[in-house]
Subunit: 253 residues, 2 copies
């Protein structure tokens, strides 16, 4: 079955094109051989965020170094212009969760932000990147979200790019209902900012609300955990503004 | 500070009214004394799903049995008519996650459903209930979602209540985009059905689509894990149809 559906999909760094060879690192080799139990000749999909998605075959290599031989392109590279997600760092499990789910929900950039009441003081960005990579492989994205190095809230807003709106999740009930804020939104160039479990310090929120690029948005009457709020905001964005709004083109199916 | 903000909020079984006494079980006593470090006289909020939310004080009881003395009502009981969430059982961690997040997102009933490609064969409903209880305490709900005993898909649809629409998440791209399906929806009387990680068997999905109360809905071009799909659907429902759509009444703030 030369064209059976590939069982594995891998993000790689190498350039992709007809006849290209792609070396696998130790964890990828383990995954294809031990977890997915693929044999030489079996098909794998690969993408690198630049050259689209390609069909490749596991090579019958001697020695320890496993490699793929690239065959043909299955999808052309396309822009994935989802919103940015800025968020106060969380404990390990909910932060893993945010990285995975934000990738599935099409965020284009993850920005950890220290706020006054943020409990965490460090961010394992390498771990966040590993989470986004695995999620992108599984959900079919053509690129990984960029994981930014953490910054303080003050630095985030001081360097804010012109033309990108920042929707700040406000837990105290004063914000514009999310669907109403999104109904006016144009595609692209949005970001969400989700505060820490401890909430916003009052003067932080006052300062944010005065910024011309900020809209404070409300996520209903229940108190959502930070990870729930992040997910809910991204899902609503995709449903109302992003690529869920109309079905994908038939040619993609 | 007789009216400091209570640090703990507990779901209890007892009837609530002025002067009522409420015994705490061992885990609640541990939580208020050891985790929250409350002392006799400290305030606690309590709710039971029937009598609204009340302010109570931790009593200075001798012996091992801890109790609360109920003071005054803080919120009247109100209906919480969120959608039902029917879902194929998942592994422990994502299922915990679905129970917690669905509670925060206002689901009124959780229904585990066995489908053809569901890997799990048992559901720890007691664990699901414990998760919904803790989440309801933390997010400020006045009731717990009901956790139904698991049923087969065939039984679910055979017993389906008249007048409730069932929105089935379809991963293959043929469904109505979620926002479009919800734009036509009236409040109340909806349910979502989320299939297993293995997806729908083709004949299952065909049979579902033929049912007069079913709408197959699409959640965009990326392949969402089942837990992500459940959350995303509930968040969009609340934003577009439910209680996020307009801000809560000012009197509630």
């Amino acid at each position: 079955m030369p064209h059976s559906k590939p069982k594995a999909r891998l993000f790689v760094d190498a350039a992709l094109g007809p006849g290209a060879g792609v070396g696998l690192d130790a964890s990828q080799a383990h995954y294809v051989e031990r977890v997915m139990r693929l044999a030489p000749g079996d098909a794998v999909l690969v993408f690198n965020g630049r050259d689209g998605e390609w069909r490749a075959r596991l090579e019958d290599g001697g020695g320890k170094r496993r490699a793929l031989a690239v065959d043909s392109q299955t999808r052309r590279q396309a822009a994935e212009p989802g919103p940015w997600l800025a968020f106060a760092p969380l404990k390990k499990t909910p932060m893993d969760f945010v990285a995975v789910k934000a990738t599935e929900l099409g965020a284009s950039r993850l920005l950890p932000v220290f706020t006054r009441l943020t409990a965490a003081r460090r961010v394992a960005t390498a771990r966040l990147r590993a989470n986004t990579r695995e999620a992108a492989e599984q959900c079919g994205r053509l690129s990984l979200p960029e994981v930014a190095e953490p910054v303080d809230l003050r630095a985030l807003v001081a360097q804010w790019p012109a033309g990108r709106r920042l929707l700040v999740a406000e837990e105290s009930g004063g914000g514009v209902p999310l669907a109403r804020a999104l109904a006016k939104a144009a595609p692209g160039d949005h970001a969400f900012l989700i505060g820490p479990e401890g909430g916003w310090a009052p003067d932080e929120l006052d300062a944010l609300r005065k910024l011309p690029f900020v809209t404070a948005v409300g996520l209903g009457p229940r108190i959502l955990r930070a990870d729930t709020a992040a997910l809910a905001a991204l899902a609503c964005w995709q449903a109302l503004v992003g690529d869920w709004h109309d079905g994908p083109p038939a040619s993609e199916r």
